[in-house]
């Protein structure tokens, strides 16, 4: 409940979904088109500043993406330690027991890949500051075929349901005597497979019934469909839709000529 209140205060929330979609698309694309570390870092700064100005709570942000941040840190460490091993032209910065670890190239590559991942994660976090129903309308008003737009939206709609089912299966297993804390790694893997399988079966069944329900309610009976609500872009929304990609183009040339 508190989390929802914190979200509703954000300025990003009242923004039309299209500038947010544009920001996400342009930031993700820009970070993949170049391997310039400074450029990718500057994209990340733009995203973080946007999130902060937009009113995103930092602790909330950390809670939402904690697991991904840990994964990125782990990837950075592994890349840093091992990239460049066995290459004759690379000089290691650290020697342990006759083996060389940590190479300059490895650090740079790890930094670049980690920053790229961070850009993608932060771009995704911006999309969390909005309603799924608005993204559906935005995609359709951007002339994306409605069947594709629905695929995306229904996928997003089902994520919390699947998470709830996973929690239920996890609780059921615990109630029937499975103590996850006492399991060894192989046992844990086996137990998690036991959680995933019923969810997969249930998701397939649900998808099947959902498609039937959609057809019985006339889905795809017409080449187009109408919408009860319409999104209207205000001046600020239009300006930001143009401004976000323009910032990334500008930054590219700035970094290139500096």
């Amino acid at each position: 409940m508190n989390e929802n209140r914190a979200i509703k205060k954000g300025r990003l929330r009242i923004l039309d979904p299209r500038p947010k979609l544009m920001l996400m698309a342009s930031a993700s694309t820009a970070c993949m088109l170049t391997s310039n570390l400074w450029y990718i870092a500057s994209i990340l700064v733009v995203l973080v500043v946007t999130l902060l100005i937009g009113g995103m709570n930092l602790s909330l942000l950390w809670n939402r993406a904690k697991a991904i941040f840990m994964l990125i840190i782990m990837l950075f460490v592994i890349q840093t330690l091992f990239f460049g091993m066995g290459r004759a032209d690379a000089a290691p910065l650290l020697h342990i027991g006759g083996f060389g670890f940590v190479y300059t190239g490895g650090i740079l590559l790890a930094a670049m890949l980690s920053l790229r991942l961070l850009v993608i994660v932060f771009a995704g976090l911006i999309l969390l500051e909005g309603e799924i129903r608005d993204y559906l309308l935005a995609l359709v008003q951007m002339k994306i075929p409605y069947t594709f737009a629905f695929m995306v939206v229904i996928g997003l709609h089902f994520l919390p349901i699947l998470r709830e089912e996973a929690t239920n299966v996890y609780c059921c297993m615990q109630l029937r005597g499975k103590d996850f804390k006492k399991l060894k790694l192989t046992g844990k893997i086996r137990a998690y497979i036991g959680i995933c399988l019923p969810i997969l079966v249930s998701a397939l069944r649900r998808a099947d019934e959902m498609s039937i329900a959609m057809e019985t309610r006339g889905f795809r009976s017409q080449p187009r469909r109408t919408y009860m609500r319409q999104l209207k872009m205000r001046g600020a929304d239009i300006a930001l839709t143009i401004l976000f990609p323009a910032i990334f183009v500008g930054l590219y040339f700035l970094v290139k000529f500096l």
């Binding site: 129903r133 349901i161 649900r206 039937i212 019985t216 309610r217 009976s221």
Partner: protein
């Protein structure tokens, strides 16, 4: 326009068997399992409430899926006989699509969670009319009306995942009613509801009947619908009894349901 009164549902000698895929080595063969429905003949008049009763696996839900065209359009199997909706054959005619039937026959399935498509209550009710290309102001008026009818005013912008079982049930009914079908089919609508939810659903059915809708209800808890025009007992895919509720002995129903 024809003045002849059209019969909403006619089923003639309907037999249906599901198909089962069997794997032997690298080859997959499709075999038919024993029929779920055998020689069903049924005529349902306009404005009537019919309750289908029978033990689990007797073919009630299969019959509903045949009436709504889901079988054989989406679920394949061996089907013989005819299903006529307002005089038009839908089971054998390949040109008939499920979505085309949506304004004639609505189907509320057993699991509300499996048929709620959208992320807010009002959007989910609007889903059907939007598919039918209804103009936006008309959709808004219809949605507001149905939300009020179903007592969901306070939940209009709520995510359906956060509704109670009874509220989800009402939402799915509203979602189907929004298509304004002449025939409504409910598969075990009150099985997961408490006494208040059941009473509310009964009121909805009575209102629909008063509005001239033809209603088919599959339900184990048949006594809730003692006001129905007909109770039909389905046993082993066949019609074992078909009469007004008072004419069917309770002992017969209890014996068949609890055997």
């Amino acid at each position: 326009m024809s003045t002849e009164k059209r019969i909403p549902i006619e089923v003639r000698n309907l037999t249906f068997a599901y198909e089962r895929d069997e794997k032997s080595g690298t080859e997959t063969t499709t075999t038919a399992v024993p029929p779920a429905l055998s020689g069903i003949d049924l005529t349902i008049e306009s404005g009537t409430v019919v309750v289908l009763i029978g033990p689990s696996g007797s073919g009630k839900t299969t019959l509903c899926k045949c009436l709504t065209g889901i079988i054989p359009k989406l679920i394949k199997g061996n089907l013989d006989g005819e299903v006529l909706i307002f005089g038009r054959e839908i089971a054998q005619d390949s040109s008939v699509e499920i979505s085309m039937l949506s304004t004639q026959i609505g189907f509320v399935m057993q699991e509300p969670d499996h048929q709620i498509v959208m992320t807010t209550v009002e959007d989910d009710i609007a889903f059907g009319p939007e598919n039918s290309m209804m103009p936006s102001p008309e959709i808004r008026a219809l949605v507001d009306h149905l939300i009020a009818d179903m007592g969901l005013e306070a939940k209009a912008e709520t995510n359906p995942n956060n509704l109670s079982g009874g509220e989800k049930q009402r939402l799915t009914v509203a979602g189907v009613l929004a298509m304004e079908p002449e025939i409504m089919v409910f598969d075990e609508p009150v099985s997961s509801l408490d006494a208040v939810g059941k009473a509310h659903f009964v009121e909805i059915v009575k209102e629909l009947k008063a509005a001239g809708k033809t209603i088919i209800i599959v339900e184990h808890d048949y006594e809730v619908f003692d006001f129905a025009d007909r109770w039909i007992l389905i046993k082993d895919g066949r019609v074992a009894a078909d009469a007004i509720p008072s004419a069917i002995p309770k002992t017969l129903l209890e014996r068949e349901l609890w055997r």
